[in-house]
């Protein structure tokens, strides 16, 4: 371990804002230094709690976080917030506009925006590793907001201890709630924009469907982030579930999933990328483009 790395690790352990900011970049950019750092801090990890917030675009995920964060900072010393927003598939750039909703001035909150870098499923491909980074820092209560997602984007579940799914009114009828995917990953369902008249009937339909299809196992709430309605109830539910998690085997079970999924992401992110680079270097891409290589033969050669 060199001196530079030692100061990085110390900075992370102490919660140095500047150093954590830089360390996240190293990991996000896929630099070897970032993963060497993760290797060093892996044994220093402590228990963390990840609250996943997901839902389609514009339902009010960031605005909800803005409200709930005020309560969480009363309860916990330090909070980490990771906000995912989509990258442009055309330019590779991104407009990261989540944190403009977060009005907290609390110095104990560390907020980072993350572009999905065209990775699907609504999360940044390096999100699992950044969560590991945070688990060695003082920011061990973490809120993750996905990019606006669709019915099949369920990856967040693998990296959260509790997943909140936010839906806005008029989002569908009970057939939507019968489908697999989003409904199945939610620990708490939240109907947003409760200050609109149209919210109540939607909330009732959703609640009714959940009571029939899920035996009432998923709590359903209606909130309004603009007037504060229902925020306290959701907060209390989060704390109740959090307590239940830590006082049972559930936390360990979720951690098992998170560890394994994180490893699979490492394989995808680093190993696959290396493989692609290798094949490209060998000049096979050109031949593939021109149809000179049987791609199925090629892949069979690689995996055999």
């Amino acid at each position: 371990m060199n001196l530079n790395q030692k100061s990085l690790i110390d900075g992370i352990l102490e919660g140095d804002r500047l150093i954590i900011g830089k360390a996240i970049s190293l990991i996000e950019n896929g630099e070897k230094e970032g993963f060497t750092l993760l290797k060093e801090i892996y044994p220093l990890k402590k228990d963390i709690f990840v609250l996943g917030i997901t839902g389609p675009l514009g339902v009010g995920k960031s605005t909800f976080i803005d409200k709930i964060i005020e309560k969480l900072t009363d309860e916990f010393d330090k909070i980490g917030v990771l906000l995912c927003d989509p990258s442009s598939p055309i330019s590779g750039g991104a407009f990261l506009g989540d944190r403009l909703r977060l009005k907290t001035k609390n110095e104990n909150v560390f907020i980072r925006s993350m572009a999905t870098r065209t990775f699907p499923y609504g999360i940044s491909p390096s999100l699992p590793f950044i969560i590991d980074l945070f688990s060695a820092s003082p920011y061990r209560n973490i809120i993750v907001e996905t990019a606006g997602i669709g019915q099949g984007d369920v990856s967040i579940k693998n990296f959260s201890h509790l997943t909140l799914v936010l839906l806005s009114p008029l989002l569908g009828d009970e057939i939507q709630f019968l489908k697999g995917g989003l409904m199945e990953i939610s620990d708490i369902l939240i109907v947003t924009k409760g200050d609109y008249d149209i919210a109540e009937p939607f909330y009732k339909t959703l609640k009714n469907s959940i009571s029939i299809f899920y035996n009432d196992l998923i709590p359903v709430y209606m909130i309004s982030s603009s007037n504060g309605f229902g925020i306290d109830d959701v907060y209390n539910e989060i704390m109740k579930k959090r307590l239940d998690l830590f006082s049972s085997d559930k936390y360990l079970e979720r951690e098992k999933i998170r560890r394994l999924e994180t490893f699979k992401y490492l394989l995808k992110e680093l190993y696959t990328k290396k493989m692609i680079e290798k094949i490209e270097k060998e000049g096979d891409f050109k031949e593939i483009e021109e149809g000179k290589i049987n791609i199925y033969q090629k892949i069979l050669d690689i995996i055999s």
Partner: protein, 133 residues
């Protein structure tokens, strides 16, 4: 792969952010990752964001006339916190103030007659060597 990150900030009591939004979108379209602060932020908030987001550049927009105080404060706080970053700015800025802002550490100040292309060219020129892929 290294992405260049830019924070577009709106310090102070200024609710006019169409320009900041247009520029943020334009920078996205040429490959920058842009974090937009939203309106009415304090210099302290903007500096906290620049640090947490580990941005390569901070661009401040001000149309209220308070640019001298606000831009100076952001620049001072960045230095104080040890965040090394490229600073640029824009807005309704009188010609005679541009030199003053440059002395505060702002590499370039754009005015309403600047084109989006000028802003992109300025950043591309600054960061060309930093993008590896």
């Amino acid at each position: 792969m290294k992405k260049i990150k830019v924070l577009i900030g709106k310090p102070g009591l200024d609710g006019h952010d169409r320009g900041a939004k247009v520029i943020s979108k334009a920078l996205m379209e040429v490959g920058y990752e842009v974090i937009y602060t939203g309106i009415r932020r304090t210099p302290e908030e903007i500096v906290k964001m620049a640090i947490e987001e580990d941005v390569d550049a901070v661009g401040l927009s001000c149309l209220s006339g308070a640019h001298l105080d606000l831009f100076k404060k952001v620049s001072e706080l960045l230095k104080e916190k040890g965040k090394d970053v490229l600073l640029f700015g824009g807005g309704i800025i009188p010609k005679e103030d541009i030199e003053i802002l440059k002395n505060y550490g702002f590499k370039k100040i754009f005015t309403p007659d600047s084109s989006i292309k000028e802003i992109i060219d300025f950043l591309d020129n600054e960061f060309k060597s930093k993008v590896t892929n």
